[in-house]
Subunit: 499 residues, 2 copies
Amino acid sequence: MRIGILLIYILFLSNFFLRAQSKVENWDVFELQLKGKRKGNPFVEVDLSAKFYQGGDTLKVSGFYDGDGIYKLRFMPHKKGIWQYLTASNDSKLHQKKGTFECIPAKYENHGPVRVKDTFYFAYSDGKPFYPLGTTAYGWIQQNKETREQTLESLKKSPFNKIRVALLPHAPSGTNYDLYPFEGAGKDWDFTRFNAAYFARYEHYIKEMQKLGIQVDLFVFHPYDKGVWGFDTMNKEEQYLFLKYVNARFGAFRNIWWSMANEFDLMPDRTTGDWDGYFRFFQENDPYNRLRSIHNAANWYDHSKHWVTHVSAQSEAWWKSNALRDTFKKPVLFDEFCYEGDGDNRTVALNGDMIRHRFWLMTILGAYATHGEAFKQKDTGYQFFRQGGAFEGSSAKELHVLKKVLDGIPGHLKPLGTDWRLNWIRAGVDEQYFLYYFGEYQNSSWTFTELPENLKYQVDIIDTKNGTIVGQENTLGKGDTLALPGKPYMAVALQLVAQ
Amino acid sequence: MRIGILLIYILFLSNFFLRAQSKVENWDVFELQLKGKRKGNPFVEVDLSAKFYQGGDTLKVSGFYDGDGIYKLRFMPHKKGIWQYLTASNDSKLHQKKGTFECIPAKYENHGPVRVKDTFYFAYSDGKPFYPLGTTAYGWIQQNKETREQTLESLKKSPFNKIRVALLPHAPSGTNYDLYPFEGAGKDWDFTRFNAAYFARYEHYIKEMQKLGIQVDLFVFHPYDKGVWGFDTMNKEEQYLFLKYVNARFGAFRNIWWSMANEFDLMPDRTTGDWDGYFRFFQENDPYNRLRSIHNAANWYDHSKHWVTHVSAQSEAWWKSNALRDTFKKPVLFDEFCYEGDGDNRTVALNGDMIRHRFWLMTILGAYATHGEAFKQKDTGYQFFRQGGAFEGSSAKELHVLKKVLDGIPGHLKPLGTDWRLNWIRAGVDEQYFLYYFGEYQNSSWTFTELPENLKYQVDIIDTKNGTIVGQENTLGKGDTLALPGKPYMAVALQLVAQ
């Protein structure tokens, strides 16, 4: 009899479930597949959503049409236990479907989504500090498979844990692609019909990057269509249909960050009100409240607006870290401060020493830096910041030691320097930890007059260029002098010795 | 009969004149020597002044006692023609002496004293722009003759046109000297009796530096006595007696700039009111209204006070050039932004590339930089910023090309960059001249979209590190692209082609 009931239950389920997991790791994606209407334009005509609830928590999630009569709902649970759900739709085949799944503990390497912590910092949901160490590859997901796999491999070997990526095709990265986000061709697109395969490829790489611990800072609009396809000509209704689709498909992935645009101010047809609207869309419709930002070219959006979670600046003014923190009271990311390269344009021609140097400066100043590389690659002529591929510059390699240092910091590094006179360039975590960066100074020693009284620290001397970390035999305290190699780009890390 | 009158006249003159010139070049020093009282303490007891007048101009000048019964009055004329003078004194032998001299035109290399021009800039009195390109040697005038002569020779071969010098002995530069500013020895000094030989040596080198075109930024107080002599323990009356003596002796030299102190804020016994008072003393008693400033360590004096002529900052924050200009509405000198060297202290351990780089940055940003060098010299162990001697670093050599560029600029270079995004780092003189500095960027070209319409420019490509200036065959205009070497530290100068 129990078998009979189970059988009936299975038959009943198969009526609408194509697939759904029974157990999902915390902060992973539960996906429900349903069969529904194929006719007409399901992207526009079918509404699908679901409520997921456990105890007092209820989250409302939008579903999306994936083509071939398949509808999907994705949900990221944020606490362990049994979650229940109930769908709602104007298509009766999708309506009032319900079920449960069990959210099980996250595995070691899954720390959950990244959130703003203590005004200026980031942490994963499990409390582990997150220090963004970004890179950039606007159009890599449009490239051929070989390049995409090479890019993933490059990222895997890199120190980077965040990447800025375009969602819409990026003309400067190429104009002849196998997949496009909409149905159509040439300059003739139906902005109300999405090409599921295009988005599925993004999902694949979002998940691959998740495995590598990389946050995907995805900009949903950009000014680089250059008249090639006209994807920047969607009307307002189409724009919001697009955002809804993107939010429904990608929103459940814990490594997604929403960026409204790259260089938003280069899209003169969009008003500040338009950008406000996109922000508000995500604020209201993304049940996970993922990080939201907007990236400028020459003019600034007002990052103090409450829907902006952090400052995603294009600026070389690392020295304005303090000013930006003070002004916006949010984490400050220098998401573009010129790229390493040998380009003809100054913004893609910074030398590698200076990229690495600015990463260290920004780290000490309580801001976060994003790398980009514009060298033409030997085999392809690609530039990493556009098509991905292989890193050719020096900074991607040399930043490994910064990653290693950041990974060892027991908390959030607060800047401790002065603004007018960077007399000591240091940051610290209470009395637990201090990081000094001497940058262009080749002082042959440092006397630690500024340390707390009566505490002893273990010392690492870090060569930020050569990548060495040399632990010192002797601990030191306030007033002690440490010999240094007398060359530029040295850093010193102090870890409190347990009493 | 004419001979008889002349003879009587000469006899009459010899009664009080020891020496006085009949012709003095404009902006040079007319000096009158008189014999007066020897007894008592002439430094305190004898008042001597003179009025110098021509047409409607009258200047009141203080005299000083030079020892051995000799009193001197020094005067710098500022216009051609016959000047008359009349002395006043409480010593009858010095009172009501009068005479005339002729002020003749200045020679080619004499441009007169430097003044503030158009709020943010400097110019000589004849209108020639003055771009300060400073160096530092606090205690060089106390050193032995060989070192002093070597220092002069170093300065002669250097690109520098301004030097920061201490007036009182500088203990970190040495503690055993042949001359001291006061009568006495050890720690026992009579601050009311000056040692004329000490000041005469300064005068000698002030004049020598004048010949080299070097402005002497003389700080009258400093916190570096270190308890060696106690010259920082003068009481207030003694301080003003000292200032009066200094003003009377040095004030007529056209290359003197008054600095109230180096690192004034390291003298905790002096109040802001004290510093205000010193400024006011010079403002009221220096008839030439020479440049006046004060130099900080960690804390800032309010440079907006009207007696401050320019900002003499200790700061590494070259990026605050705009902010400082906006705040104080005065020329901004980064008179100490860390020295080139290999010292144990970070402030004396900047590498030479960065010294030179910051000079160029500050130039473009409308501020002025001051060099200092802290390498230990091979033969003596001296450091140039203290004892003078020989330059050992790279920046002193490499700044020659900046000097050459500055000398060719037809006016005052106004910064044209933006603050947030240094998207083009350039400065210019109206439409006449533009200077671009690409610094750490190794762009292989530049397209001049920002030039005025319909004008053509002659182009120099400057390698700021290697010191080459390569004139280009072709002129260029708005929108034209210039190929660049694709390496860091390049600059480009554009001179308008006459129509």
